[in-house]
Symmetry: C2
Subunit: 135 residues, 2 copies
């Protein structure tokens, strides 16, 4: 049986990442671990760790990205939750067996060999959920 | 300086907690730690721990509750994130000094002497955030 090991991150979509850091970093006092643009994903991201779980801020940098469209439709706020699993292929197989609708039926290989897949929010009762497995 | 110690829980609002458990417990394989009605808050709640952070499911049990109105307006999905702080009064003072809009300007005393307060989502860039301090 595949196992969910931990929550890796909770992602928030924002219109202005610098403005949002005035809250998350300067007012709450969290440490900013990373702030960078990700041109491939047409976004800028920031990571602020809280005892092993990352708060991720995501700002679209182009109006034609998926995250920009989400922001336009839903407004800023919590966007997705990412859970680390020990065996993503086995977890996706288990989910398919239970008729859980997936965005990615097979793991996608990301940076550094990290495998990930998204579950459809309809299947997760409105929650956009990412699963990932470290190499 | 007050410190954020950890993420305590991430709460998801659902229309049907039993239906949602078919996903969170039966398909993902998370353990159900607690399932109960909370008449005072006109809701039913479930807690499913993931390595020290709780996934909380909240279902309104009355159409006139705040959570029912949220569900009607926004649909099911991620609702709020709760951070544990070492000193909630000091954190609220720090936030007020930074002009962060609060729902509770002073800590509310909850069950078992637990103190909590909510930050206004406008101040947290669309995120509803709860802060709490253990007695």
């Amino acid at each position: 049986m595949p196992i969910i090991k931990r929550i890796d991150h909770v992602a928030m979509v924002v219109e202005d990442i610098e403005g949002a850091l005035a809250f998350w970093r300067d007012a709450l006092g969290l440490s900013l671990e990373l702030l960078q643009e990700v041109p491939r994903e047409k976004s800028a991201i920031a990571f602020l760790p809280v005892s092993g779980v990352e708060i991720e801020l995501v700002q679209p940098t182009s109006a034609d990205s998926g995250i920009a469209k989400y922001l336009e439709k839903r407004g800023p706020g919590m966007h997705h939750i990412c859970l680390e699993v020990d065996d993503i292929s086995a977890m996706l197989a288990q989910l398919k067996e239970k008729d859980v609708q997936l965005i990615h039926e097979e793991p996608v290989i990301g940076d550094g060999g990290r495998k990930y897949a998204f579950i459809h929010p309809k299947a997760a009762f409105g929650v956009l959920m990412e699963l990932y497995e470290l190499p």
